[in-house]
Subunit: 638 residues, 2 copies
Amino acid sequence: MSETENLAKTRAFVVDTTRSQQCTWKPVAIDDVQLTDAFWEPRIRRNRELTIPSQLQQCEETGRIDNFRRASGKKDLPFQGIFFNDSDIYKWADAAANSLAAFPDPDLDAKLDAVIQEIADAQQPDGYLNTYFMFEREKERFTNLKDMHEIYCAGHLFQAAVAHYRATGKSSFLNIAKRLADCLDNTFGPGKRSGACGHEEAEMGLVELYRATGERRYLELADFMVQQRGMTPGLFGNSKYHQDHLPFAEQTEFVGHAVRHLYLACGATDIVSEKPDSPYRGALEALWDNLTRRRMYVTGGAGSRWEGEAFGNDYELPNDRAYTETCAAIGSVMWNWRMLLLTGEAKYADLMETTLYNAVLPGLSLDGMHYFYQNPLADRGSHRRQAWFGCACCPPNVARLLASLSGYFYTVGSDRVGVHLYANSSANLTLPTGDSFAFGVETQFPWDGHVAFTVREAPARPVRLHLRTPWWAESASFAVNGQLEGEWEVEGDYIVIEREWKAGDVVTLDLEMTVQRVETHPHVLANRGRVAIQRGPLIYCVEQADHPTADVWDIALPDDGEFSAEFVADLLGGVTVLRTQGVASDPSEWEGALYAPYLRHSEMETHLVEIVAVPYFAWANREAGPMQVWIPTASPMS
Amino acid sequence: MSETENLAKTRAFVVDTTRSQQCTWKPVAIDDVQLTDAFWEPRIRRNRELTIPSQLQQCEETGRIDNFRRASGKKDLPFQGIFFNDSDIYKWADAAANSLAAFPDPDLDAKLDAVIQEIADAQQPDGYLNTYFMFEREKERFTNLKDMHEIYCAGHLFQAAVAHYRATGKSSFLNIAKRLADCLDNTFGPGKRSGACGHEEAEMGLVELYRATGERRYLELADFMVQQRGMTPGLFGNSKYHQDHLPFAEQTEFVGHAVRHLYLACGATDIVSEKPDSPYRGALEALWDNLTRRRMYVTGGAGSRWEGEAFGNDYELPNDRAYTETCAAIGSVMWNWRMLLLTGEAKYADLMETTLYNAVLPGLSLDGMHYFYQNPLADRGSHRRQAWFGCACCPPNVARLLASLSGYFYTVGSDRVGVHLYANSSANLTLPTGDSFAFGVETQFPWDGHVAFTVREAPARPVRLHLRTPWWAESASFAVNGQLEGEWEVEGDYIVIEREWKAGDVVTLDLEMTVQRVETHPHVLANRGRVAIQRGPLIYCVEQADHPTADVWDIALPDDGEFSAEFVADLLGGVTVLRTQGVASDPSEWEGALYAPYLRHSEMETHLVEIVAVPYFAWANREAGPMQVWIPTASPMS
């Protein structure tokens, strides 16, 4: 076994591109980075201490684990819950494994082992594993790939098993995954059955299993599954809902079920990362443009339609009925991370940052135990986080992302280190050459744009440090050991500083973090005459709890108002609050009417009101009430 | 048999309140009124000559009639189409019967008789009739009232059978209806089974069957079905989708499936019309307020959500994703007609008029053979009318409404005649006393607000003529025999002129028909900074076909622009076009961006453009392209 293989098998990566020849960057292990900040560290701690344990309890109480005990014959019960509930167990195991990678925990390790044993006991002699298709439904296996999420569940198993193997070195879960993957590979593929899952997911799971085992059949099966889409006749009636309308290489628009299309993009990116002849790269770039230029909320959220949990048409981005499933945002983060590793382009890190703060994080309550499935950008107070869902895809998806988050900050190359996200942290990175590169980061991010890097260890040769300048920073300046902007260059939106680093070297980076008003392309009907407020990576909102004298849906923001920014430690876990003077109208003058001759009511009297904006990710953690991200504009007051 | 009963059984009413003690008005028969105008007459003729025959052909080609032949054993075929497809046949028969009432047609009469014979042959010995629940599904009868629309189909049969009986005097269809109603009555009711249909409809069908047969059991069964909703525990899990969340008498908001709730309101109104002790009247009034003040499009369209074809929250009225099913608009017309007969209040006639022109009529193409199921108020050109649907509820619903339309214009009382809608027409009404009251109407309605009534025959005693002054008329004036506003009074929004009318008396009414801009309550997020254009009863839109130099989504309407109104005979079947000067911007300056710092793009250059607005009902009858009802406002140009 070579040194490289050994490394790959004992280090926990979000995705392992260490041997992916098409990739620009190699990842760092989850435990190479310790987050020590006041923003992410407490969230990841809550994830470890509250979220992951409470989710295991939910899975136990809702029969999700009993379904495995039923399958193995230990319990004589009917199947409980939704037919794809196995996937929740796998996502929970994925979260637990990633958490163990960074934070060894014998108790959690033992609980995870126990769950894995239940999974192992439920596996069939031929490797098949899905607790819904047992006993009376055994003959229905692989008979309805379109609707029944069988291979989707397998994909989540693959991801969890690889994470467990990488985090613990144990092969117990990985062996289950290999047997199940072999079962799929014995069934589907060229010369065997056509077929892929109606809900994509297994594609990326299979590529990661290939990376962990070296078994190329899994990579080829993943590619086969991507190729199944858009054939004539179609696997799923060429439906857009299932991304079956066109071959993937010809797709240029995000359509249908949002999570599915984003997961498909993840899988296709993984394949492009491994196969030099893959035809998918142009489609991936076209899809990214379509997402960011036509079909994405300002939060990074994706999928605007409730019907079908789907992408809408170009510019179809309603605020009150935004669907923006938390899982779709997670899928976007996963995809952008893969595109960043592949291409090295900063725009993917930019979108990953935006989406993480503004579209993933709202899905989780500050207490770490309540979840949003949908994330509207305007509400009257009825949309509240829930402790669990019948379809509980989002909660363990958030948990596994948070558990692995430290793996998303930095990347390495032979002579390069990439810095993509900013947080107080300590990093002990290993370059592909085997050299160490260690540094500490001090910053109050995301509340302040000042970042200081202190090198602790570096090889005795030049290393290029890539620092992302985010799209929201109107200006960026830096200094090395106090010397302003010495030798440096720009690659895309990265500042690149090359030097032979010494322990004690300090790089300071100052990203201008001002309050910005954002407006939308005029074809977005929902946002006419409205602006969103952004500061640094964060999108803000107005919540009723901060506005005693007016309904926040009646507040308008004058074009010339200046904002003050103040960090309030005891509000919403500590957030920077933005304040300015606004005007509020009183629609009671409408006396209940819905329509009226123009100008009769638009000349309503207004009164002054202090507008208090808080980060959108923190909304709905206080008493219920109206909320709005897109705030109506008003004429200048001066 | 008394004179009254005889009359009731041989005259074709939309709904027969001639003996309903609670009702303010009695209806006139469909054939008491001949529409001779250039707006409705050609549409009703197309309905008779093209729509009704082509729908029969569609029903035949799609197996809808074969389903009856299968049920009667004449054909050995599987059931074809959707499980509630029987209802389309009944709605078609309803349309055909209503058409025969006004326009005898031996060929159509024979075709309808043939269809009725197929229906009769499919009826079971116990009176049961639903072609889906035959043979292998016979044991599933009445086992899933929530989802399977069994009683809904029966309701449509009742309505069609009564219409056929009234139009032709034949009892063939009515006898089928009585046997099926007896089957339901033997099954459901106090001391028998609980139950009602998940899709309301049978309630109003049963009341009409009671009115046609005098069999009070049918009225009581209808009331029983209304009472089934909102019990504890709920018939349908107390779901809002099925209006099962509250007893009807306690309902104050339109919720769930829009067509169902509106049909339920129709049935409840029918019951209130017949039963003096009915507790539903307050709910009906509360629901009407909720609809018109919170949950209705400016077109009168109802049901904003695609998911569940449902009402949304208060003020949730998106334009591009408006669902506004054609059937929901028809349900609203049917309900408002019933409320008008019950109360005599003009607001119900107002809404009936608005909804008819702006929410029902867009559902039908100018060629009379293509249909909208959904009616968005903004579109990019992809939403086009279809020749038929798998779920074809809307097409025959439009046909039966148009076939009976002449029955909606006028009402009578012993000493009163009500005029609720305006069109060139000839009316030979019979008052409840047996007296004749005949008059002609000359008007260019809906293009012009001048209306002239010429009395042709009247009893030798005072009769009160009620003329509705619509809500859109900023002023109304009238003259009797050239004498301006002699003796008259106002009742609600009716001008009431009482006199002993002589043949040759002329009343002229002038309703001010100006172009109005309409704005929306500020909590309707979709309409901020936008106005709709209304002239008389018609809502207008801008279509791409009239705007060669700008995308109609980029056009804004200055606050001070004056409109010209011109009737264009060769456009869209003859419409009054509104023109004014507007401004257009060019979003290509956005260079594909979706979001941008505020004011970077909003200071886009604009160019002048002639705005050409056409009636919304006529949209999508030319080449496909963008359309918008709610037009952005711009600053005054002068």
